[in-house]
Symmetry: C2
């Protein structure tokens, strides 16, 4: 199994992709990695490590797509970027998956353009692992489709169910439609139509509300990309915000430094569930390939987990299962 | 100043509305209250208290609109409900404002139907006080308008600015449009058009993202009711969820009971900012009157604060200021 890794993506390259790749091959004996990016800086970074050289190769891709660059423009003009090159190699069968912490839009555009869509898919979707009090669940879409047609909700639900079962280990994932109330006549026209489309799915539990997310009333929180993106980013801001609220609480109660330290330790242990690096990234579902995107701030741990996740998607052949489910 | 209070609304009536009203007249000498609801049960409840009887009257309204009843249907058929009666009294000039912890949709419908809209308002809006690390801010719309036209965003922004300044004490409230990115070309057509409409407002700071809410990058988080309702309810679920995360952290670290107690105390003090009762409720902005709705679970403190807020809206004549701003 060969996974290509974007060594020029994210906020900390080449360090984090290189370290994450080395950690990944140590954890999974079946893996080989191709690091894609400016050859010289990757090799310089690799020189800091000892590793099985037969299992990590470098593919030169000198151009760099910046994090805030216009996706379609970047993909068109930067043919020698790590993203276009890496996805191209995947398309050509030179690797089984591509993993990047770079520009999400550019990776999505390159994936759709070069790999194409799976049969029966109207639009690929981006999901995100979402921490709840019951463990990690799946929110989708979180930004690829700001509005969605009814049949797209149905496809998201089916693709997400396969991902949740095969990769997240949730045996019978329940799908809930994020809405303003539980009754089926609630919501926008988009949501009412989506409800009608979804109700034939055996694992659809109906509308859920914002308060049901943390309680994990569903395993898949279905929404359009506008709602998902705003809720996801708000959710990601919770640990830092809680830290500030707790600091204020400590001041209010005038705790001593030892007590404050204890509280800080508990807080850190408690909010670990929110660390997105533990998951690392979710593949675009619906593209004809395995293309995994992570946070720009991905740590080596996050990159490693993205690589292992990508390998799992290939092993479990989730695209084949998606096509079978949709057609 | 006479405030009518729904004594048959919310999850805990008549106890909480009665207690909240008594507390309100103790705090504000200028106030008189009319408790609206089934006369007998209100009088029975009042008998438990000593209070200035000249300042609390009862208006019989025997019918009860349940929390989950269809709003328009309820308003049409239950003419003798506390909501229809109370708003009707406000319309007739028998009180200066109406306050309820009852069925939000029914109160909105009754308010629009009986009081009408202010000149220049396309649609009234529901806002909500939202806790941030910098204090309470305003999110709007949170459910009255699941989709909104561009000019409605402009009106929400102006009405919200007046409310934030006059009632919340935020001198120069900054308006941010909740979106999936900061660039002006981001988002759905609805949001792109809203951006164009808003950019002429001097206090519009542009698009903001989900992560900017807790950081209070803006003072008014502008969104349609679908996004606002989901984010609001998700936000309201944070304290309970954090409590569960912290309990797990305490178990993980195997703290003793004294240490665990300390952490619990800090948590309680820290999350007080999330207690919606401290604010109590926000009026519908855009109706020709002062009609304040609160949470169904409103405590006596919440009801008291809703009453005091309503009085403040009347004193500050915010509707006159809204009309001046919009026309």
């Amino acid at each position: 199994m060969i996974i290509a890794v974007d060594a020029a993506g994210g906020d900390y390259f080449p360090e984090n992709p290189v370290k994450g790749s080395i950690d990944a091959i140590e954890e999974n004996d079946e893996l080989a990695i191709i690091l894609v990016g400016p050859e010289e800086i990757i090799k310089e970074e690799l020189a800091n490590y000892e590793f099985d050289e037969a299992r990590i190769k470098v593919q030169d891709a000198p151009e760099i797509i910046e994090m805030d660059e216009s996706p379609t423009q970047a993909v068109k003009t930067k043919q020698n970027s790590s993203i276009v090159k890496g996805v191209g190699m995947h398309k050509a069968g030179e690797c089984d998956a591509f993993v990047s912490a770079g520009n999400t839009g550019a990776l999505l555009a390159a994936s759709i353009f070069l790999l194409g869509k799976l049969k029966g898919v109207s639009r690929p979707t981006i999901g995100a692992a979402f921490p709840t009090t019951q463990g990690v669940r799946l929110m989708m879409d979180v930004g690829a489709n700001l509005e969605a047609r009814p049949e797209m909700y149905g496809q998201f639900a089916q693709m997400g169910s396969i991902f949740a079962r095969e990769i997240m280990g949730i045996e019978n994932p329940k799908v809930g439609l994020l809405n303003v109330g539980e009754e089926k006549e609630k919501g926008t026209e988009e949501l009412k139509e989506a409800f009608k489309e979804l109700k034939s799915l055996p694992n659809f539990i109906g509308n859920i509300e914002g308060r049901d997310i943390f309680a994990a009333k569903a395993d898949i929180f279905l929404c359009n990309g506008l709602v998902g993106n705003i809720v996801l980013k708000f959710g990601e801001s919770i640990p830092d915000a809680i830290e500030i609220f707790i600091k204020k609480g400590i001041q209010k109660l005038q705790l001593g430094s030892q007590e404050a330290q204890l509280v800080g330790k508990v807080l850190k242990a408690s909010l670990q569930e929110f660390n997105p690096d533990r998951i690392g990234g979710v593949p675009f579902l619906g593209v004809n390939g395995v293309s995994v995107v992570g946070h720009g701030s991905s740590s080596p741990l996050a990159i490693k987990n993205m690589i292992l996740n990508a390998a799992k998607c290939v092993e479990h052949d989730i695209n084949k299962k998606i096509v079978a489910s949709l057609n």
